[in-house]
């Protein structure tokens, strides 16, 4: 379907979307008196079999995901199929503003009074959705998420679900829109699951007149379209990253992007575009690199390039690549130093981190190594010990390659390591290293200053058991000390299940699992050097399946903000967990 850009004059009326006009009833045909509406009650005889409850919850969640897809397309006719003919509940229009605040960056947030929401029938509900969201020039996303569910024992399948509704879009004049509501729905299965009662407990709109960012991918010449993840051409779990550096010494930041079938090297041009020159500059192969870093490996004044690889499959001749070091000739033309010492072994390497850990003036590289996912699974959910050993590639100097000293220094381990970050957290002159591990405890290697490290994650309170994906340092509370940000996973399904499990499993297991599903962590460094976890309700951590976090002052207000990539796999079907 094409995406028409509605008339700009709609922008003004769209700002009045909800609640600003109590007299204007958007759904008069469907409106009913409020007193007719009975609040949605919990099932009188709830199902107790947890597995059946979760199966049923999944059915409802899947059904609502496909509904979300219909709403993104603004297909209001099809949308009717998700509601019972005798639907009765709160509509999306005609609510009154209960509070309005202007927040950071000019975000205007309006809460609406749900206690006086108009009650509508099915036609009125659809009309109210159209009234409220039909005026968005573009609906970017709609999500109806099931945050909890209870079902009636016996009889026709029915139940009560706790709902989170979320939508984002853009008005024709560019104003950014976001909608979030919590509520309850009564559902029943009539062929498919349908909603027959709907009730909000909170209802909020946020607007921002101009988005901080605009996507310029194709205009700048860095667009790359590849197959959908999961298809034959794109099914590798060797996730690919990106590195910035000045390849040709002109003072602009060029971008190296390892990828599945070949690498990309975007060279910055004076006109603001990029030209892709991986082949000309001889960094296009080998493909399927994970993380990459620029560094002056041989101290000759230019930026060399190191690309991590998942190469364990060498061992049984199934493909895979060595980690690659490309040396720069000073003009931005590279040579693949394929026979370099220290790189002849296979690694299961994801994120390389550059630092001079021993202070000898030559840059070393720590390689976070994961598990061999194609061959074996993690042997524990929260204490896995069958990960591939990490590597610490000590630079031998003078371009002579590397020596892996991780085992010698006791840092190889057997965790499933995805990433690390180095910084002088204690400002004693040497770089310390935090390692984020999936399925287990993270490690915090404090540099003793003599070329050795001591693992102090417990002592410093930053073990952060969970599914560690990434780690970054930066000062997030303007006190001049570096703080710690760890990317983890959180899970709607996991938390929903745990809500039901609290009384039925032992407390220790429960707490472990709760942490596993909890999401990202921020640790502020205090005056005494201790790191203290920021409570979750302080914000900044609410991603779901988080990867790379960057701590930087994105709005130049003098405080570091957080950008974090997020999401595991988004398929082209509606079904999800």
């Amino acid at each position: 379907m094409r995406d028409p850009q509605p008339l700009p004059l709609l922008a003004a009326t769209a700002l009045l979307l909800v609640g600003c006009s109590g007299s204007e009833d958007p759904a008069s045909a469907g409106a009913q008196a409020k007193q007719d509406f009975t609040p949605i009650a919990a099932p009188s005889n709830p199902m107790t079999d947890l597995e059946l409850v979760e199966d049923r919850t999944e059915e409802v969640a899947d059904r609502l995901l496909s509904f979300s897809a219909v709403l993104v397309k603004q297909d209001f006719e099809t949308a009717q199929a998700w509601f019972a003919d005798d639907f009765q509940g709160m509509g999306f229009a005609g609510l009154l503003v209960s509070s309005e605040t202007t927040q950071l960056q000019g975000v205007v947030s309006r809460d609406f009074d749900v206690s006086r929401a108009p009650i509508v029938n099915k036609a009125g509900l659809i009309a109210s959705w159209e009234e409220t969201f039909g005026k968005w020039g573009q609906v970017s996303s709609v999500i109806w998420k099931v945050k909890g569910a209870e079902f009636q024992q016996g009889g026709r399948p029915s139940g009560r679900i706790k709902l989170y509704l979320h939508a984002t879009g853009i008005l024709p004049d560019g104003t950014m829109q976001s909608f979030a509501a919590w509520g309850w729905a009564r559902v029943k299965r009539v062929g498919d699951w349908v909603i027959d009662r709907l009730e909000f407990t909170s209802y909020n709109f946020k607007t921002l007149s101009q988005a901080p960012y605009v996507e310029v991918t194709s205009a700048a010449g860095v667009g790359h379209t590849f197959a959908r993840f999961g298809s034959d051409q794109n099914r590798s779990f060797h996730f690919n990253g990106a590195a910035a550096g000045d390849v040709d010494g002109d003072g602009d930041w060029d971008l190296f992007v390892p990828s599945d079938e070949r690498n990309f090297l975007y060279i910055a041009q004076p006109d603001g575009t990029y030209t892709e020159e991986a082949v000309q500059r001889a960094v296009d192969q080998p493909d399927d690199g994970t993380g990459a870093v620029f560094l002056d490996y041989d101290n000759d004044g230019d930026q060399d390039l190191f690309v991590a690889q998942v190469g364990w499959a060498f061992e049984d001749d199934r493909g895979g690549h060595h980690c690659a070091l490309y040396t720069n000739d000073g003009t931005g033309k590279f040579t693949h130093a394929s026979e370099l010492a220290g790189l002849g072994s296979p690694f299961v390497a994801y994120s390389p981190t550059v630092f001079d850990f021993d202070g000898d003036g030559w840059l070393d590289i720590f390689l976070s190594c994961y598990g061999m996912v194609e061959r074996e699974h993690n042997n524990s959910w929260f204490q896995a010990t069958n990960g591939y050993p990490n590597a610490l590639l000590r630079n031998l100097g003078e371009g002579k390659g590397f020596e892996d000293v991780a085992t010698k220094l006791g840092m190889a381990g057997s965790r499933w390591s995805y990433a690390s970050a180095a910084a002088d957290i204690d400002l004693d002159g040497d770089p310390d290293l935090y390692v984020a591990n999936d399925y287990g405890d993270n490690e915090f290697w404090i540099n003793a200053g003599d070329g050795t490290f001591e693992q102090q994650s417990d002592a410093r309170g930053v073990t952060d058991r969970g599914n560690g994906m990434g780690v970054s340092f930066g000062d997030l509370n303007q006190d001049g000390r570096l703080d710690l940000y760890v990317s983890n996973m959180s899970s709607t399904a996991g938390n929903r299940i745990l809500d039901r499990l609290e009384d039925s499993i032992d407390q220790e297991t429960y707490l472990v699992l709760r942490k596993l599903a909890a999401g990202n962590s921020i640790f502020f460094q205090e005056q005494d050097g201790n790191l203290k976890r920021l409570p979750k309700n302080a914000g900044g951590v609410g991603a779901s399946w988080a990867w790379s976090a960057n701590l930087a002052d994105l709005n130049l207000d003098g405080r570091l903000d957080i950008f974090c990539t997020n999401g595991f796999v988004t398929g082209n079907l509606a079904f999800d967990t």
């Binding site: 850009q5 996730f239 002056d296 399946w545 130049l556 207000d557 003098g558 999401g567």
Partner: protein, 354 residues
Amino acid sequence: MVASTVCDTPSEGEFKLQSVGNEGFLDRHNSQIFAEGRSFSGNERDKLFLNRGDGTFADISDLSGCDSPGDGRGVICADLDDDGDLDLFVHEIQRERHHLYRNNLGGKFIKVRLVATSGQHEAIGATVIIHGPEGPVAQPLTRGAGFVSCQAPELVFGLGTADSGTIEVVWPGGAKEDFGTIKANSRVLLTEGSGQATNFAARPRPLPDPLPKGLLLRIGDTLPALGMLDAQGELAILDPIALADGGELWINMWGKSCVPCIKEMPLLSEHDKSADLRVVLLCTDPPQHRAQAAPIAAKRATGLADFYLGAEPRDVAAPPENYIDLLRLPIPTTLRISAEGKLLGVIRGTVPPH
């Protein structure tokens, strides 16, 4: 976590996720799941949290313009256009894998690059502290942090409303050095032991304005003659150079159900009367709708040449879909083409009156 590892049974004695649900899903192998097009923790979007300054953070992802749902992995956060604010490059796993987001906010800043003299010259691991309006803010110079991501060797500090900030560096090796007060919007090179900041030159290279989704051309690209039909369904070549006739050519893309498109047609006819501007219409409706679309153009866009999809044979001129993905292109959109047939720019939405 990788889903394949969620799909098998963990070692005995441990708590089994399978036992608490999802059994049918988790028991199936991930590659099959994803080959089928199912999601796993999908439909999530990249996150932007702003620092409120009081130890809390505001989630403005929804309104940020950079919250792609394509399952982001690596990210670069750097001032790519040298205008002082930080742009983003994100590598995702789904179809459109590379994303570049231009920061539109601007503001006062200090950019810092470092040269170490006692250790390796790149000063990786140094911590720079700027005392600015919100207190001292520390940033480490890293290469390789986050997840599979490597940042540019430059630190950007915002100054809010302040006109300057004072800089302190803790160099690898531990030496602390004060570089004094630096004015807002400075780009400074700090060399260890010098005690003095030196300015380095700005290299502005403004990132381009966005192009509409579905446009497969970049600014400066040549649009060749396209094989189209006229209102009667006869073959008609949309030849930009011939139609521009030495001036500028606007190709307005419209559809019969697009109200703003139809409303602006008289204005397009007016523009066509300018001495050095020609306007033509390219209808984006499928060929079977030409009969309904053509009378609208005839009535509303008097005097304009109008072109329709469905030309055969395909070898008489270039097929339009090679240059414009008409199913994805928002309309109205107007391409500005030079007398030489090159794309000068794009008018997104309705055209301006003058």
